[in-house]
Amino acid sequence: MWVVAAGMLAGCNAPVDKRVQLRYMAWGNPEQLAIEDRLTEEFNKLNPDIHVQVFKVPQSAYRNKMILMFASRTAPDVVRVDHYDFPQLAVRDYFHDLDEFIAQDKEFNLKDYYPGAVEEGRVNGKIKGLNVLFGGGIMFYNQDILAQAGLEDPNALWKRGEWTYDKVREYAVACTKFDQNGKPVQFGVNVPAFPFYFAVVQAFGGKFLNDTLDKCLLDSPEAVEAMQYMADLRWKYRCAPSPAQGAASAFAFETGKLALEFNYIGNSARLRQMKVRFKWDVCPMPLGSRGDSFFVKGNQLTMYQETKHPQEAWRFMKFLTGPDAERILYIQERRQSPTRMDLAKSEAFLHPKEPPFNMEAVALTVARGKTLPIGPRWQETITTLTPELDNLFAGREKNAAIAMKRATADVNKNLAEEPGF
């Protein structure tokens, strides 16, 4: 009892922390979370009147936790949101409008950022989030495998305008190998996974959804051609692993058994960390018959609508998207691509000492990349679409025209329904 009483008295005399307390919610692998801690500590040092605490939630539980916290009005002051979830939550007014802060802050200029990065954070004409961990789809290639097959460097082809989807298939077929029993030992390329197939559709001249995001267009001849191209890589040309062959990452790029891979530039951090034993680099996504395949996607840094400290939260958000933090995130640690154009054009970003070396391809991707057609009904749209895409990519339906006709009908039926039912 004396111990308890003494403890209580000691508590009474403890100095009161007068700093504004903020909570910042984020997820990531241990390396990413270590950087979040480092950036937060840096901010706390520079801003002695504020104390930010990182609220870490495992990725598998992040979405549900975040939704429940918003719905129960207990969300942290600043929340990092994946862009797949951002529009769905933004229309529910969970996020503070940032235009007022941007207008008042003379140090903050939206023109410093890539248009694609700004656009992702805009909802119904208002800025509701600032882009972080921004990046785009890119192509990784194993230089050793290509050299063994006597194939020219894809970047050289790109510069001549010859890095096309036909060329990718040609490379993939040349690099695929089977053993004496017919078992695959090396594949040429992975089938572009979600959302990369939308970029392929784009390069073939098609679109997934119309501009108002209320009509599916995947049954157009251009989209069907793109989908057939991807399915054929796996089932006709056998140069891409099937779902079963690729299970448990058996032919992931880092194993050294895959020549070309469609992936985000952010994956390069993992490859460096793993210290893979082959030479690799990146090149732009290929050109299609009717355009390029550049696309961008990031996370949004949002301010909770009901935060009690909006000014302080804004200072923290500005710091995380400012030049100092971006230099740590994207030049020192190379987690993704800078959202600030001057950094993406800097010598330090474009000429690193470790792979990937061709950072021009990354800068080009984020500069020209289109945003994905993600709206408030994205989750149900993509779930409705998935069965037919599964049918096509799992080889149950070989004809893309049939699969896309059914998929389009399903998605359009869903989109025509009154939201919420």
Binding site: R63, N64, I67, F70, A71, Q88, V91, R92, D93, S242, P243, A244, Q245, A247, A248, A250, R377, Q379, E380, T383, T386, P387, E388, D390, N391, A394, R396, P419, G420, F421
Partner: protein, 300 residues
């Protein structure tokens, strides 16, 4: 002098007092949310706006929602096959483990171990077993000259693969209950049967089964309720696919509630499931008089 009559007598007062924490918890965390979800099932609620819509969610589900019926069908097939299989499997295992042999405790421990593996971990393990390229199942089939299959990505097999996987848990709690039931059967019944010349099968059919019938009944009710709540395996292993072949009812509720934010519709689905389970349980209780025998119960 008139005596004031107490609302509850002294022992009952203390009883209520000690159960109050549980009662408060029940009202706050079980009954309260249930009533709220009943109300929500008559609304359109998307986490931002709430609108009373009457029975529209129920109408839409019952008459204009193919995926509702698909998920119900998947769940019913799963329940119809996996529950009897599981009961038979658990009973058979319990009988084996009830034999007085050397190492009996070790065998019992080994049989119980798989049920201790978390559902997500066992799901990942079974994904390996079912992998069509490197999986154990296809390897064994190939060893005996049979061709393999794409167990989880083929519409024809995916649900059956999950049903087969459900047998992974036959050595769990259900088997322990059977084991306890078996040990509770008096040896005198078997002795009397043997004196009457009953064979082993006859002893099992006419002594063990009737004596175990309350346990079977209990496991049947719980098994059907559990089967209607299957979620993790489908969420982890197939995501409801291929082509919605493993879209279990609980997974469908989860999607509507937490992916599409259709909480009114999801609540209606939950209440439909509750009503279905209520009817099924009532039917089981109704038919139990014919086949469940309680010790000391007089049958006319």
């Amino acid at each position: 002098m008139t005596k004031t009559r107490r609302l509850v007598d002294r022992p009952s007062f203390w009883g209520f007092l000690f159960t109050t924490p549980w009662l408060v918890g029940f009202v706050l965390f079980t009954a309260g949310p249930m009533l709220i979800s009943l109300y929500l099932s008559f609304t359109k609620y998307d986490l931002s706006s709430l609108e009373f819509v009457g029975a529209k969610n129920y109408r839409k589900l019952l008459f204009d929602e193919p995926l509702f019926w698909k998920s119900l069908q998947v769940t019913v097939v799963y329940a119809l096959v996996s529950v009897p299989l599981g009961i038979v499997g658990s009973l058979a295992l319990a009988i084996l483990l009830n034999q007085k042999v050397r190492g009996q405790r070790l065998f019992r421990t080994m049989a119980y171990l798989p049920s201790l593996v978390p559902a997500v971990a066992s799901s990942l393990l079974w994904m390996w077993i079912y992998n069509s390229e490197y999986g154990l199942l296809n390897y064994i089939l190939g060893f005996f000259g049979f061709g393999g299959a794409e167990w989880l990505s083929d519409e024809k097999f995916a649900l059956w693969a999950l049903i087969l996987m459900s047998l992974w848990g036959i050595g769990g709690g259900r088997m322990v209950i059977f084991l306890a039931g078996l040990q509770g059967i008096s040896e005198t019944y078997y002795e009397a049967a043997r004196i009457d010349g009953a064979s082993g099968w006859q002893q099992f059919r006419y002594v063990t089964i009737p004596q175990l019938s309350p346990v079977i009944f209990f496991n049947l009710i719980l098994g059907i309720i559990s089967a209607f709540q299957v979620f993790t395996q489908a969420y982890v292993m197939t995501g409801g696919g291929p082509n919605n072949a493993t879209l279990f009812y609980a997974l469908n509720i989860f999607r509507n509630a937490f992916e599409y934010f259709k909480l009114g519709k999801a609540s209606a689905m939950a209440w439909i499931m509750f009503i279905i389970l209520l009817i099924l349980t009532a039917i089981q209780f109704g038919t139990s008089r014919r086949w469940v025998h309680y010790e000391g119960e007089a049958k006319s």
